[in-house]
Symmetry: C2
Subunit: 299 residues, 2 copies
């Protein structure tokens, strides 16, 4: 297939470097310098100590005809990308954002495109504009958003590298919800407390606060199987005990966090349901303060 990948972050580079083995790939970046660097050096992907180089096209400005477009930008850049995509002829577009806030935007998007949603279970870290570390080998699960069928790309995407499988499934919404639940339990707390993921289950007070966030999120999402889900959140903390959550990394590196994609979505839902979620509300506001390092006085 002819695949266009929108976004040159960790996930964008990771997708491009694997998909170019079976497909013709173009990466669309925001900055021209990154596109130039990718054209000059290719994408260097390091996995388990081995580095591979992959050649891809790269440019700014989304133009051309593609069998599939994959949008890998963070949620806070999604609106700009949607505006740009609105100018294209009908395409099939797969969205790989974290959280669930993008679902609300896509529901409201009047478009002739066919939309797909994916859940990324890989770990990846961008090392430079053309280098990515594949730190956790996982899988991408994806499915059709709303009603569209997907027989042809389903077949085409089955041809992928062993380390980068893309699996079609109808139940992507449940997956997205469970990933959101894990994110909302781990990300805000580790960031506000400046601790690694494991601390949330090692310190009983932190675990209690995580449980408060969990209860509020489970209730907003109306998720069944609470016991299984709480055990799952604990397992993720255990398995990633030494990791710094992505949100903490964002704060440490002075980047915008995915606060809106994660907490923003749940707060919107809670408001629509008329449900109070004091802990999530508090986390959201405190993160905003920490993000802006608000040390200014009031006007």
């Amino acid at each position: 297939m002819n695949i266009g990948i929108i976004g040159g972050g960790a996930i964008g580079l990771l997708c491009a470097s694997y998909l170019t083995q079976y497909h013709d790939v173009t990466v669309f970046t925001r900055r021209n310098e990154q596109a130039e660097e990718i054209r000059a050096f290719g994408i260097e992907r390091t996995v388990k100590g081995e580095t591979c180089q992959a050649s891809v096209h790269a440019q700014t400005g989304i133009t051309g005809e593609f069998d599939l477009l994959i949008v890998t930008v963070k949620y806070h850049h999604l609106q700009d990308v949607l505006s740009e995509l609105s100018t294209l002829s009908p395409h099939r577009i797969l969205f790989l954002q974290n959280g669930m806030a993008h679902l609300l935007d896509l529901e409201n998007w009047k478009t002739g495109h066919s939309l797909y949603i994916g859940v990324v279970e890989h770990g990846a870290m961008k090392m430079s504009d053309h280098e990515v570390n594949h730190t956790g080998i996982g899988i991408i699960k994806w499915g059709a958003f709303q009603h569209e069928a997907a027989a042809d790309i389903k077949k085409a995407l089955n041809e992928t590298s062993f380390h980068f499988q893309m699996v079609y499934m109808d139940e992507w919404k449940k997956l997205l919800q469970e990933k959101l639940l894990v994110n909302v339990c781990i990300n805000p707390l580790t960031t506000l407390l400046h601790v690694r993921n494991g601390a949330l289950i090692q310190n009983p007070s932190y675990e209690y606060m995580m449980k408060c966030a969990f209860e509020e999120a489970v209730s907003i999402l109306s998720l069944p199987e609470k016991e299984r889900l709480w055990a799952y959140v604990n397992t993720v903390c255990e398995n990633t005990a030494e990791n710094q959550s992505s949100m903490l990394q964002d704060i440490v590196k002075g980047r915008q966090t995915e606060r809106k994609a994660i907490l923003g979505y749940l707060l919107k839902k809670a408001q629509a349901q008329g449900v109070a979620v004091p802990h999530l509300t508090f986390f959201d506001r405190s993160l905003e303060v920490l993000e802006k390092k608000q040390t200014k006085s009031f006007e």
Copy 2:
């Protein structure tokens, strides 16, 4: 009386400027420049738009003989002051710190001095090294720490300005506890959320979080009359709705906060009692992160 005031912060300057009307006052500052400035310009106190100038002695290094020493430094400077005071002949010393952490230090202090504890209910803001705004006219309630009587200074301190009364009472511990309770409800939350005091009762989610802190603190302090105290905390939020809490001001100005005097004391008590206080634990750690603006990665 011959009174020595230790500390040139807002409360130190306020005490000195009023007490010099009836007593011979010396202010002890940490920095020589401040002592020089006070000697050169006196202390300028502004209250309700009127500015008065008061002459006092000022120096660094606590030396001399006094009928009363008043310690006004913040809790995190108390240890240094106690060491310096240990070198003096027996004096009567009144401590005006916020929180209750200093009580633990004074209990463990082997000293021949007679100790008194005061609760400051004034609002004051330091405008420069020799200027103070008396923003809220209140009262200082004080009493003897442990067993000492205080007949003579009780009489002497009755002679004070109308705007600066010092009232003796036996029940200072209860007052200190209730002030601590108000502080632990208002200060950490307003600081982490970067909001004025009134927001805590205007936003139901913030009020819920305040209630969580309240419940934990009331339980640690074994305070009776919970309903009255919760109403009291709410009244303080209402009466100071437009104010920024002192802790928020400290963060905004890049100063050390009174986190240890307020949360540190309660966490120590909780640990001794074997009681879990997850919200207070979380506030303490998050404030530490905000204080240090920890944006460094882990080692």
